[in-house]
Symmetry: C2
Subunit: 458 residues, 2 copies
């Protein structure tokens, strides 16, 4: 007997939940494709030294070993393997391994599970699905890709709103703005300052002021200036005026502000009202060098960022060339777990089936099969009743699965082109009409399961 | 620097190969949905005692441990986890865990990676994708599902032929036929006999005769009868006549023959010419109790079976109820690796992009962006040229990716509804026409990448 207790941190959805997850993924990947991003998959494992090259996450890695000692010996000459904890490290390795066979700029999306040996908490899992996009190019990456990547994600989140997903806000900043400003203030520990600012939402303004003085060695005046910078938000070019009004001005800061203004204005032209400059966005990872991004759902800010990323310069390197890039990663499992927990959305049904063909008696099951075959040939998902029970019981089979139509075979059922295929009942309205399997069509909304806002009537 | 050598047994595809894999998966899953199978995903890990309950595959399991000893201690109270080596064990556990929340008969499909710590060979991987369907029901499963499951797979393989995948043959047998026949002959070791027959293609008729006598203790006459049974094939009810002509008759054998005839006749009515009774099909796993299935590609028999399964009685058990079932599993990676190795199919392009919008100069990139936005709003995958290079270079960018159309923005480009969006060139024919972004439509065949037989002209 298999052990049947759920494993903490390894979420699984019932069929209805999986319909929601699949729809979210479909909206994401179809949006990525609209912008020309090609889908790839990488293996689940990487040599542990490759995983450790990002350093800080080392404690979260799951290592693999074979069950049999004999087999373990056979592996002796091979690298120790671990499960990837994100899709960025494998992507960097994939590009380095295949750089001679890819065309650049290389734009790819990737939707896969990742694993982290963390203690599970609300919205944090040990196994979860991420959906990433990245663009990389050898030596130089044009700055407009730093606009495109958040525009792609903002477009995807706007499309998700039709399903009932709350509105997203993509908050953006630029490392050059923070670094130029801190340096202009005379602060030396830029990374330390960023790490403190990154905690603003958790520890509050007072906590940030205290930590900047205690941990980074800032004066109170420097700390207050850093906090004032972090409190700036804007949806247009006014962000530059607000920053410069703080009285600090360096070439790096001005370059960063130009890029940041270009980003918010460019994004506003392509997908209005989603991308916001928010100067407290710091991102913990130290490999970001330009734009940085975080995404929250309005009304669900306590979920944290569900889509983050930024511009990096030296993550991808094939030994002779460096490939600067920019990317963002959606936490699909985190998003879907909230949609399900709060019942924000619902699938119109948990099965693909649009029509259940009833079976009059087991001797005529072939007639029901033939009707199903003809409906399927026209793309209509169809099941045949599992047992020739009383029709009331067969209708309940459909009703329990929210299958909208039940087909009752008639005398001519099964003979292609012959009249008399029977009648089809919409079990929601009770309407029943005579129909032929080669011509009857369900309403477009009933053809496939859809995901709709939870409040929408059935 | 990440290590960039490929890992043996962990296949990865370039973007063009991934287009092929994704299309194969899409044809499979859309066929499963047409028959009413609901998609689920299960976690990648199971407690090792659950994985070991299938016994024979124990040596292939990858176990997990956390990198940090500290974390390992925190896990002390938890089960040792391993990566699943198929999708059947996790499915059985999922049904047992959720039996109160599922509707039965439960029909599900599942497309996921699985891992086996095997020594890699041609067509055998350590990490690979499987696509499974199964139907389970409490206590009793109607026999017609043993017809439906191979019909679903045969339908999917017939649809794959449009992509250039070779024709499939689904070979079927029934354990009751083999067991009833062997018992009727007076052979006691039925499982041992099945294991020898399973090797017929590898060791030949002479090898089978010798092994049945040496390993199972059969007489030469018994061995010859077993071989004669194994050599029977048929596409219709004649299979029963051929078997009974061998002079053995038991109730179990006759029940098995009735079921087998029902299967080949039922399958022929729904998807003609694919399902064949082949009485050498044995399947190694001892949990099958009725129909068993294997699938080969014509002309690629040396690849082995790419889709196998059967009827089982006691695999799924929630502690109070047993759920008999029937299922089949497609080896997606094995199939795709052969399609790519032998170049049997090709994608029309390796990127989703249908249109590249050229950029006249960097100052007017926003006009190109606006055209792209309007094309995308109508579902046309569009990229904007990464650099405002000479048009010849921008055309080469499209050409290297097999993007069929390049759009040259005109004077009015970007203003919705204003004339003068420019001209669009089919870079295959060289034809160039004036076009408006809100109305121009590419031919349906060019809208998305397709997978076509390798010989089909571009």
């Amino acid at each position: 007997m298999p052990r049947v207790a759920p494993l903490s941190g390894f979420p699984e959805w019932l069929p209805a939940g999986r319909v929601v997850e699949q729809h979210v993924i479909d909206v994401m990947t179809s949006t990525f494709a609209l912008f020309g991003y090609a889908g790839i998959e990488t293996r689940a494992v990487e040599p542990v030294e490759s995983l450790l090259s990002k350093g800080e996450t080392s404690k979260e890695i799951y290592l693999l070993r074979r069950l049999q000692a004999e087999a373990a010996e056979a592996d002796a000459g091979e690298s120790q393997l671990g499960l990837h904890f994100d899709l960025t490290v494998p992507f960097a390795r994939y590009v380095a391994e295949n750089s001679g066979r890819l065309t650049f700029p290389f734009k790819r999306f990737q939707v896969q599970k990742v694993w982290r040996g963390e203690r599970p908490q609300d919205g944090r899992f040990r196994e979860f699905v991420q959906a990433d996009i990245d663009v990389v190019a050898p030596d130089e990456l044009p700055a407009h890709f730093e606009i495109e990547v958040p525009v792609v994600m903002a477009t995807a989140f706007e499309r998700l709103r039709e399903l009932g997903v709350p509105q997203a806000r993509v908050s953006v900043n630029n490392r050059r703005v923070s670094q130029g400003f801190y340096e202009g203030l005379g602060i030396e520990d830029v990374d330390g300052t960023l790490r403190v600012i990154d905690k603003l939402d958790k520890i509050g303004a007072g906590g940030v002021l205290a930590a900047l003085q205690a941990e980074v060695g800032a004066s109170e005046e420097q700390a207050r200036a850093c906090l004032a910078l972090a409190e700036i938000t804007a949806t247009d070019a006014s962000v530059a005026d607000q920053v410069l009004a703080l009285g600090v001005r360096t070439p790096l800061l001005e370059q960063g502000l130009d890029e940041l203004v270009g980003l918010v204005e460019g994004a506003a032209a392509l997908v209005p009202g989603v991308v916001v400059a928010d100067l407290k966005i710091a991102r913990g990872l130290d490999y970001y060098t330009g734009s940085v991004y975080e995404t929250t759902l309005l009304g669900h800010e306590n979920l944290g960022s569900i889509c983050s990323g930024g511009r990096y310069d030296s993550l991808v390197d094939d030994g002779s060339t460096t490939y600067p890039g920019v990317g963002m990663s959606v936490g699909i499992s985190r998003l879907v777990s909230r949609l399900l927990r709060d019942e924000l959305v619902r699938p119109t049904r948990p099965v693909p089936t649009a029509v259940l063909v009833a079976v009059v008696d087991e001797d005529t099951r072939d007639r029901s099969n033939a009707i199903a075959r003809r409906l399927r040939a026209r793309g209509i998902a169809t099941e045949v009743a599992p047992v020739a029970a009383k029709f009331g019981k067969q209708i309940r089979y459909a009703d329990r699965r929210d299958i909208p139509f039940v087909w009752f075979p008639g005398a001519g059922a099964g003979d292609d082109g012959e009249p008399g295929d029977g009648e089809v009942k919409d079990i929601r309205s009770g309407d029943q009409v005579a129909a032929e399997a080669d011509t009857w069509q369900p309403p477009a909304d009933d053809l496939r399961p859809r995901v709709v806002p939870a409040g929408e009537p059935r």
